[in-house]
């Protein structure tokens, strides 16, 4: 039977599911504590988090924890595979766009912000890091925001820890990691939310061991001095991405890859995004445009 544990963390709704015939697995009780620890390390909204302290130290190497180092390495991978479209150096662009506090507390209509102007985000190559000493040295003015990479990483870590006890699924605010098939070799059935109709799925995916993530501008959006803003920043412009895509759902071997790919497709738009999905044999996706048209990649039929 499936045991479910919903909880709230990282500014979103979390859901852990484990398949086990026995009673509720005690290991699941530890999951919220894991997320609390990761959030205390990786959140840019907590002034005392390890990331916030790192973001205040420039031009000198800072030794970081295993967690922050690991997420930083995944951020490097994400930047590489997306050709710089997904990078944690969009911290200041996020602030400029008005996303300066947890979204739960963020005013949806902002009028008094002094906008100093958008600038392209700095590439991660500006940052000096050393694997041996596990240190990161941020140049003056460069700060990090791991955003969705951290959520995907946390979901992945969770199922890695749970899989010894049974097949597991971790949904971290839409970023889903799956450790294995169900015990009867059946796939997990995962819905894709319809961005136009609240609390409604429009498609069902049948998934075994993999990661799936959705990126979109249907939820985290606000108005800044009368201009529509959302949280997906195009690092080449430093502004919220101008795109015809409303949401993108990507299936990939890991949830970190899926999350990075989904964000990249949303930034470049449906035409280039679809070409990019089709060019990578490990990716499959569904793109929903702002006019309601839905585009299925060729490989997605394996999961329907």
């Amino acid at each position: 039977m499936l045991h479910r544990l919903p909880f709230r963390a990282m500014g979103g709704e979390m859901l852990a599911i484990m398949e086990q015939d026995a009673e509720f697995p005690s290991i699941m009780d530890k999951i919220p504590g894991w997320f609390e620890g990761w959030e205390q390390t990786l959140s840019r909204f907590r002034p005392a988090s390890e990331l916030s302290l790192l973001n205040q130290t420039f031009d000198q190497p800072v030794e970081v924890s295993d967690t922050l180092w690991d997420v930083f390495q995944y951020a490097l991978s994400a930047e590489t595979i997306t050709h710089g479209l997904v990078t944690p150096t969009v911290f200041d662009a996020m602030l400029e766009a008005g996303y300066n506090q947890s979204f739960d507390n963020l005013p949806r209509y902002q009028y008094e912000n002094e906008i100093s102007g958008f600038a392209p985000a700095n590439p991660l190559s500006m940052i000096i890091w050393d694997e041996k000493s596990q240190t990161i040295c941020l140049p003056q003015g460069v700060r990090l925001d791991f955003g969705g990479v951290a959520k995907g990483w946390a979901a992945h870590q969770t199922v890695e820890r749970l899989k010894a006890y049974g097949s597991a699924l971790m949904n971290a605010a839409g970023d889903i990691a799956i450790s294995d098939s169900l015990a009867n070799r059946e796939p997990w059935q995962i819905g894709i939310r319809n961005p136009f109709i609240k609390d409604t799925d429009f498609e069902t995916l049948k998934l075994h061991r993999c990661g799936v993530a959705t990126s979109g501008r249907d939820r985290r959006h606000w108005s800044q001095n009368g201009l529509a803003r959302h949280h997906i920043i195009n690092p080449y412009t430093g502004q919220p991405a101008e795109t015809n895509v409303m949401t993108v759902t990507i299936i990939a071997p890991t949830v970190m890859e899926a999350e990075a790919a989904a964000k990249a497709v949303l930034i470049v738009g449906s035409e280039e995004g679809l070409k990019w999905i089709e060019s990578d044999p490990v990716l499959a996706g569904i793109i929903i445009l702002e006019n309601g048209l839905t585009i299925y990649s060729q490989r997605i039929h394996k999961y329907l």
Binding site: L2, F202, T247, G292
Partner: protein, 119 residues
């Protein structure tokens, strides 16, 4: 010297005439439109009870110019006040490539364990 009479009285007369015109318009409207209201409501309920059309699968958006029908399908008879305004219906269409799966705007989540959405 006596003050020149103000135009206030004429304004009052204008107001009375305008009010009377509006009252007569509404009264006549309801007199002539009233008998057809029941039939129109019944017709509207019958229309609403029909099952909605299923969204069709398309491979690419196609826009074709439609010929203007000879016989206009515009509703005839009196225009009734009240009732619900037409609602915009958003249909999530299916593009090319996927082929299959559940489509349309309905909730297909009866067997799903969770859903992915933008975070």
């Amino acid at each position: 010297m006596a003050n020149k009479p103000t135009s206030r009285n004429w304004n009052d007369i204008q107001l009375v005439i305008a009010t009377a015109c509006m009252a007569f318009t509404l009264a006549f409207w309801n007199i002539f439109a009233g008998p057809d209201r029941e039939a129109a409501l019944k017709h509207a309920q019958e229309q609403a009870a029909l099952p909605p059309a299923q969204p069709s699968q398309i491979t690419a958006p196609v826009i074709e110019a439609q010929p203007v029908p000879q016989n206009s399908t515009l509703p005839t008879g009196p225009i009734l006040l009240g009732g619900n305004a037409p609602q915009t219906q958003i249909i999530v269409q299916v593009g090319g490539g996927g082929g299959g799966g559940n489509t349309g705007g309905g909730n297909t989540g009866s067997t799903t364990v969770t859903s992915t959405s933008s975070s």
